[in-house]
């Protein structure tokens, strides 16, 4: 913690190496979170890049006792929520004819259908699901990222799974 604090002070004074040491290791989980929410590599990379930029200019927001990981992932999640909200063009992408791919390899098609089902989740539920099961954060960490109580996270995840279950079962019936 002391080391992180020292790095934070250096980063606040404009030391980019210190910022890299703090945030660099969070790029990978940040990308996983962004891809999990946006399902598009380019958009996910953009979200992480924008989040890193925002983190860089807003280091004063990190207060004593805070951990960088939930703080940074919170910025990534917020960026993804904004992207999802403003993504009118995603309608075009969603209507892409997944089923008419010339040689649909089962796993990819199944994944595509699942991702399509995931897109229908609210940002709050999707974020909780992705952070917990895909990025690998504990429920408490997810709560810190989302800024809600742990109980709320549990509820969001439960509801997300219940919302997805019928669709996943349907996909399983088709593809086995």
């Amino acid at each position: 913690m002391d080391e992180e604090l020292a790095l934070l002070e250096r980063a606040r004074s404009g030391d980019r190496e210190a910022f890299d040491a703090l945030v660099g290791p969070l790029i990978e989980p940040g990308y996983r979170l962004a891809f999990g929410m946006l399902h598009d590599r380019e958009s996910a990379e953009d979200a992480v890049q924008e989040a890193a930029f925002r983190a860089w200019v807003r280091l004063e927001n990190v207060r004593p006792g805070w951990s960088m990981r939930p703080w940074f992932l919170g910025i990534v999640a917020n960026q993804c929520r904004n992207t999802r909200r403003g993504r009118w063009w995603s309608v075009v992408k969603l209507s892409a004819p997944w089923r008419t791919v010339a040689s649909p390899e089962d796993q990819i098609v199944r994944g595509a259908d699942l991702r399509r089902a995931l897109r229908r989740l609210s940002s709050d539920r999707l974020e909780a699901l992705v952070l917990h099961y895909y990025v690998g954060l504990s429920l408490d960490e997810v709560a810190a990222v989302a800024g809600v109580p742990t109980g709320t996270v549990k509820s969001r995840i439960y509801r997300a799974l219940e919302q997805l279950r019928p669709q996943v079962e349907q996909i399983s019936e088709v593809f086995g």
Binding site: G14, V57, N61, G74, L114, Y134
Partner: protein, 372 residues
């Protein structure tokens, strides 16, 4: 289907686009040299700029700007209709690895959307301002009285526009705009310079969660430490009042610089103060509900009194800390990220003036003053 299988399938469906190993390097190398805003251009912003221009043009057409914005600006700064507004702004050149960038100052004509760099004769002190690694960041304000660009926050400039104060280390310096004469006003111990108000310069002292308030008379150099009613982090000041708050307290402490009295506003929510309007009322961002309150809800409010706030809109990129808030008569300007400017007035509500597609502007657009 049991939960384990369901979760494995969900995770597998996402595990199809592994991280590009170069992403970390690309992200880090794209950051500006200074910890300052820089532009981001995307489709949504490019479209939004068109909408913003349409809003401005439409409002000009219905004659709104001439009739609706008579406000509380001081007599020395009569309100400028938005249709005639030249907004003082600044930004910096394109980041190049290992190189310093100079700041560029000038005026954005809101009608034509054209940025005109300031004449060099008006940018004397700013000429010396390079991107610095100062903890307190870079400040540039347009001094309307003197017609000069000064390397300080607007609230550090005297009402007559002829002098300003600034921080050097933990000292406060006083500088004459015309002669450049510079003297040390307070030696050491200053944490943050707040405001030049009613003939006194206010600043904070101490550190951590226990930040005090002090004043110095620029004529005599005599300073005075206040006994504040509660531990606070003082960080926002208007011409008439200084606002402080203890972390997560739900209270705002107000020091009235005219009467020299403290009062407390109790709130039913946790907020961050990001600025003040022309009447000196705090502009706040509400924190999200949750255990650690580490995120903001994006809901911006103007506090009208104890427990009384008026919501003016919810925008995620109007956040605390680095948002520049400029009161300009009835209007409030917010410098957002990504070349975006937000404008609030009681009649229009919150409007986005997206400049991300405006190639004439410098990067990292920040507002340096009200309309001229």
């Amino acid at each position: 289907m049991n939960d384990d299988l369901l979760i494995r399938r969900i995770a597998a469906s996402l595990d199809v686009a592994p991280l590009d190993p170069s992403l970390r390097h690309r992200v880090m190398s794209s950051l500006p040299l200074a910890r300052h805003r820089a532009g981001r251009i995307n489709w949504a912003q490019a479209i939004a700029v068109g909408l913003a221009i349409a809003v401005i043009v439409g409002m000009v057409a219905i004659g709104y700007f001439r009739s609706g914005l008579r406000g509380s600006q001081p007599a020395s700064h009569p309100p400028v209709p938005l249709s005639e507004c030249r907004l003082p702004v600044y930004g910096f050149g394109i980041y190049q690895a290992g190189q310093q960038s100079d700041y560029e100052v000038g005026f954005l004509d809101l009608s034509t959307q054209i940025f005109t760099p300031a004449a060099s004769s008006t940018t004397g002190p700013v000429d010396h301002l390079r991107i610095s690694s100062s903890l307190d960041g870079v400040h540039i304000a347009y001094d309307r009285v003197a017609g000069m660009w000064l390397p300080v926050k607007s609230e550090w400039i005297a009402n007559d526009g002829l002098s300003y104060v600034y921080m050097s280390g933990t000292d406060i310096h006083l500088k004459d705009v015309r002669t450049g004469f510079d003297r040390t006003l307070v030696r050491s111990g200053v944490v943050r310079l707040l405001v030049w108000s009613n003939g006194k310069v206010y600043y904070s002292t101490g550190g951590g969660y226990s930040v005090g308030l002090a004043e110095v008379d620029p004529r005599t150099g005599k300073s005075h430490d206040f006994s504040v009613p509660q531990l606070s982090e003082w960080w926002i000041a208007s011409q008439d009042a200084i606002w402080g708050s203890a972390y997560y307290s739900g209270h705002l402490t107000r020091y009235d610089t005219s009467t020299g009295t403290f009062s407390t506003w109790t709130l039913d929510r946790l907020v961050d103060i990001i600025g003040v309007d022309s009447s000196g009322r705090p502009v706040v961002v509400q924190r999200a509900e949750g255990t650690d309150h580490s995120t903001t809800s994006g809901q911006v409010m103007i506090m009208r009194g104890s427990g009384d706030g008026e919501a003016i809109g919810g925008k995620d990129d109007i956040l605390s800390a680095d948002t520049t808030v400029i009161a300009d008569g009835d209007r409030i300007w917010f410098s957002g990220t990504g070349q975006r400017i937000w404008l609030y007035s009681p009649t229009t509500g919150l409007l986005l003036l997206d400049q991300s597609a405006n190639a004439s502007l410098p990067n990292g657009l920040v507002i340096a003053g009200g309309c001229v």
